[in-house]
Symmetry: C2
Subunit: 251 residues, 2 copies
């Protein structure tokens, strides 16, 4: 007779082992990207609160500095008289706050600043991991964008199996479904819009550059998945040349 | 002829002065309460991410500890073997993570922990400020709940002008309007539900205790606004006695 209990235990042990081994770099990368985006969301919402609060004291600063990190570093310098001079405000509308109030505001600012540091660290980790795990994709798309594409696909394997037209639109799902549902204009790029080369392209050629990039990422992801040789720089170079040609045409 | 330019300048100076002086403790309190709530929201969303991430390594811990801060302090202790033993897990399903991955997770955990510290500081500040600004309200409602009531009203002045039935429902606006719109059951308490005495009351008497509290807060806010003598402890005592009587009745 088969010992069912022993068999069951063996099965469970095996299943646990499989679960344990199913954790791949894909998951780290996806988690890290999610965290980066969450940190950014949190920085923005706490930053808004900070501005609201500090504006009781120094309302003029809010409009002068739109970047949150810069705002925080000015705030933490702390000498209002010097700041008023620096921003050329002769007759400030802010109230005179007492020490304890200002201390609270500064504590909050310090907390937010540490979230920015944490984000930078995490992006650094992400770029390092991407370079190790999929060097070609990272070289063409960049670490952060590559990681977002990977998350959109679900894993490197799935990304490597995608068509380039699909890669081009990862991150534009909402616009794509709006297009399908309502016939609105189809999107030309998703996360790739954040890519430096797409940013550098003129408005009319952005779609083309995004497509060229997607074509190369398509190749890069396959090389990475099948552990081929590093060709990332070459692939990126080709897109750069294309961008130059396009720019020359439009001039 | 009137010198219009000089008049205009004078007007602007006066207006700026008025703006400057319009900043009252009400605004600090409202800002601080908003910040506390934002910090809590942020802690929760980052905490969820952290759990997701750390669960790759140690999935069993997630279900065992529901409190985020406790989870973080266990995570930062860091010795998985000891933790497995502590929680009596013989055959963990978590993957073996390398140093860099674990470091990232710990960094995130440390960031979140500092947000908890920041929240505690801010609540401390809030309670101190409330005690100075409206000692009676703070004594009856408690610092944090009192601050939320004050925010709901808009200022201490407005809170002092409210009827106690309105005070009772601050924080329950959604339920109140649902009641008005659809005829659903009216709410019995808003922020006051968080009050220790309401928590201590049985389900059937909570409404009564909330009303009694609102009655006393109504008096307390008026004493605070008109700078009367401190009677907060007495007022709170009366509600405590009422709670005891109610509890005796139901036994």
């Amino acid at each position: 007779m088969v010992d069912l209990k022993a068999l069951r235990l063996k099965n469970i042990t095996l299943a646990k082992k499989l679960v344990r081994e199913s954790v791949s770099p894909d998951l780290f990368i996806i988690n890290a990207v999610n965290n980066v985006e969450d940190l950014q969301r949190v920085q923005n919402s706490l930053g808004k609160r900070l501005r609201e609060w500090y504006s009781l004291y120094f309302p003029e600063l809010d409009k002068r500095i739109s970047n949150n990190e810069e705002y925080i570093s000015h705030l933490l310098k702390g000498d209002k008289a010097a700041l008023l001079k620096e921003f050329n405000v002769s007759d400030g509308m802010g109230a005179d706050l007492k020490g304890p109030e200002l201390d609270e505001i500064k504590e909050l600012a310090t907390s937010i600043r540490s979230l920015y540091d944490e984000e930078r660290r995490l992006v650094g980790y992400l770029e390092k991991t991407m370079k190790e795990y999929c060097p070609n994709t990272a070289a063409v798309a960049g670490g952060l964008i590559g990681a977002k594409l990977l998350r959109g696909a679900g894993s490197l394997k799935k990304l490597a199996m995608m068509r380039s037209s699909t890669i081009q639109l990862i991150g534009a799902e909402k616009a794509l479904f709006r297009h399908i549902r309502t016939g609105a204009r189809p999107p030309k790029y998703g996360y790739l819009l954040q890519h430096l080369l797409v940013q550098k392209a003129g408005k009319d050629t952005r779609g083309k550059i995004a497509r060229a990039l997607a074509d190369k990422i398509f190749i890069a992801a396959r090389i990475d998945y099948f552990k081929g040789e590093f060709k990332g720089d070459e692939l990126l170079k080709e897109v750069e040349v294309k961008l130059e040609n396009e720019n020359r045409k439009t001039q």
